[in-house]
C-alpha cells in the first residue's frame, strides 16, 4: 500500500472514532435534528473520500499528485533537508513550551539565537550578528507590543519575568 493508502486508512480510522462519539450525542425529542446531525454528515463524507483515496492508491491509478502535465523536467536539485525541518520543529516546540515557564523575553532570545545557529552555524564574527538579532527581536518586539500597543505577552512562572 502506498503513502496515499496509509493516509486514507488513517483518515478512515479517525472518521470511525469520531462517528461513534457523534452517535453518542444526545438526540433531542422536540426538534428534528440534534448536535450530532451535521458531524455525522461530515464524518460520512470523510469516510467516503478516504475510501476513494485508498481505492485510487490500491488500483495504482496515481492521481496528478506532483505531476503537472506538460512541464519540463525539474532541474536536479539537492535533496530536501528533512533533518533540518525536524530540528526546526523541535526547537520551535521547545520555545512554545518554554514561553509560560521562562517568559517571553528569555524564551524568544534563546529561540532566535539557537535557531539562527542551527540554520547556519556562525563563523567567528557572525556570533555578534546572531546575538544582536536575538536581542533586538526579543526586546524590540516586547517594547512595540507590550509597551506601545498594549498587547500582553507571556509571563514566566519560573522567572516572574515577561
Amino acid at each position: 500500500m502506498g503513502r496515499d493508502g496509509v493516509v486514507g486508512l488513517l483518515l478512515l480510522l479517525i472518521s470511525a472514532i469520531f462517528y461513534l462519539q457523534a452517535q453518542a450525542l444526545p438526540r433531542p425529542s422536540l426538534v428534528p435534528i440534534g448536535p450530532g446531525f451535521y458531524p455525522e454528515i461530515v464524518l460520512v463524507c470523510l469516510a467516503i473520500f478516504s475510501l476513494l483515496l485508498i481505492a485510487w492508491d490500491f488500483l495504482g491509478r496515481r492521481t496528478v499528485s506532483g505531476r503537472l502535465p506538460g512541464k519540463a523536467p525539474a532541474k536536479p536539485t539537492a535533496p530536501p533537508r528533512y533533518g533540518m525541518v525536524l530540528n526546526t520543529f523541535v526547537i520551535f516546540s521547545a520555545y512554545v513550551f518554554a514561553l509560560p515557564l521562562l517568559g517571553y523575553l528569555l524564551s524568544t532570545l534563546l529561540f532566535v539565537g539557537v535557531l539562527q545557529a542551527l540554520l547556519k552555524p556562525p563563523r567567528a564574527k557572525e556570533w555578534v550578528l546572531l546575538a544582536t538579532v536575538a536581542l533586538a527581536t526579543a526586546f524590540v518586539t516586547y517594547w512595540v507590543f507590550e509597551g506601545y500597543l498594549h498587547v500582553l505577552l507571556p509571563r514566566g512562572r519560573w522567572t516572574g519575568l515577561p
Binding site: L25, P32, T63, V64, R67, L115, L119, V133, F145, L152
Partner: protein, 513 residues
Amino acid sequence: MLGQLGASILYVLQPHTLIPLAVGTLAGIVGGAIPGITITMTIILVLPFTFGMDPLQGLAAMTGVYVGGCAGGLLSACLLGIPGTPSAIATTFDGFPMARKGQPGRAVWLGIWASFWGGLLGGLFLIFATLPLAKFAMEFGPWEYFSLFIFALSMVAGLTERSLTKGFLSGVIGLLVTVIGSDPIMAVPRLNMGSEYLRGGFPFLPILIGIFAFSQIMSDVEKIGTETLESQQGLKASLAVSHLKVIREIFTRPVVLLWSTVIGILIGVLPAIGGSAANIMAWDQAKKISKHPEKFGTGIPEGIIAPESANNANVGGSLVTIMAFGIPGDAVTAVMLGAMIIHGIQPGPLFIVTNPTIAYGLFAAYLLAHPVMIGLQLVGVRLFLRVVSVPKQILIPVVLVFCVIGAYALNNIMENVYTLLLFGVIGYLMVKLQFPLAPLILGVILGDQIEINLVRAIMTDSNPWLFLTRPISGILLSLSLLSIILALYQHRRSLRREMEQEVPVAAEVDEEF
C-alpha cells in the same frame, strides 16, 4: 454613496489612520519584494499589530499590505527574475528580459504604474458593486447561504490541479475541525475529547497562521544552504525613468489595461483563486489578443502591464466577495476576515449596512493605498531592494516569533500557540503528502456557517427539496455540481496528457489560494 466615500477619504487621510495605512503598505512592498515571503505571510506578520488598534486602523493597515504586496512582488521579478510573490510570476516573463536589455527602470515603473491604474479601476468596481451585491445577498435565506458556501467549497476543492480526491478531503477535514467544540445551535460540547479549551472549538486564526506560515517556512528550511547564489547585479542597476513617458506607454495600450483589469476583478471575486491566477491569465490573454504574440517573453511593455494591472485589480475583486458575502476571495482576505471578527465585525451582506463607517473607510483605504504605494516606491525603492538580500537564517526565526505573537495575542492564552504548533505540523505534512491547503482553510472558515444555515433551513422547513426548488439555492447547487464535473473532466484530460508525456515534477507549495 459618493458623499459617504468622500467623507471616509477625508477621515482616512487623518494621521491616526493614514500612518497605519502607510506602514502597512510599506510592509507589503517589502514583504512582497522578498521571494519566499508571500503577501499572506506579510499580513500574518502585521496582524498582531492590529490588535491594539481600532477596527478601521487595523483594516487600513491590512489593506495597505495587500496593495503594497501586489506591487512589491514585481521588484524582484523584474530585477532578479524571481517573483517576490506568486502574484508576480508572469511579470518575470517580460519584466526580467526588459531589465536585462538595459531598461530596469522602465520595467519596474511600468509594473508599478500598471499596478496603480489596475488597482484604482478595481477600486471602482469595489465601490459600485459591493452594495448591490450585498443587497442581493440579503434576499438569501439559510438555503441560499448553505448552497453558496457549498459552491465556494466545491469550486476551491475542484480547482486543485493535483488529486481531486485530496482536494475534497482537505475541504472535509476543514469542516471537521469546525465540528470540534460546541454545537452552534444548542451549545452541546462534542468531539472535544474532554478538553475545556476545545469546548469553544479551535480558533481559526492560529490555524490559518500555522497552516500557511509553517508550510512556507519549512519549505524554505528544506532548501536552506543548498540554494545557488542568484546574481544580485540587478539590485544595483539605476531605476531612473521618465514617469510621464511610462504612464503614456500604459495609456496607449488601453485594451490590455482594461481587459487585464477585468480578468483580475473576475478572478478576485471567485473565492480562493488568488492573484497568481490573475497574473498568469492576464499575461496569457494579453498574448492571445496581441498582434505580435511572438514578442511576449522578450521584454515588451504589454507583458508587464497585463499581469501587474490584473493582480492589483484582483485585490478589489477579493474585497467585494468578503464584504458582500463574507467569503474570503483568497488567503489574504481570509486573514482580514479573522481580524474583522476579532474586532467584533461580521463580514457579509449586512456589513456595509450595519458598519457603513468601516465599510466606506475600507473603500477609502483601498483607494488611498495606491498613491501611498507610488509615493513610497518613489522615495524608497532602492532601500526596499536591500531587504531582499536578508539571509533566511535571520528571517525565519523572526517570522516564527511574529507567528507566536499573533496566535498568543488573540486571547492571551498559550493554548492558541499550541494550536498554532499543531496546525503548523499538519500544514507541513499536508504539503508533503500533496494535499492542497486552500480547501482546508475555506472549510475551517465556512464550516460553522454551513452548519448553522443547514440546521436553520431544516428547522424552518424540514423539506430537503427546498434546497433545489428555491431558485437561487438550486442554481448555486447546480453550479457546484457543474464545477465538480468540470474538475473531473479536466482532471481526466490531465491524466491522459500525463500518460502521453509522463513528466514528473517536484511538488509545489500552495503559497496562496
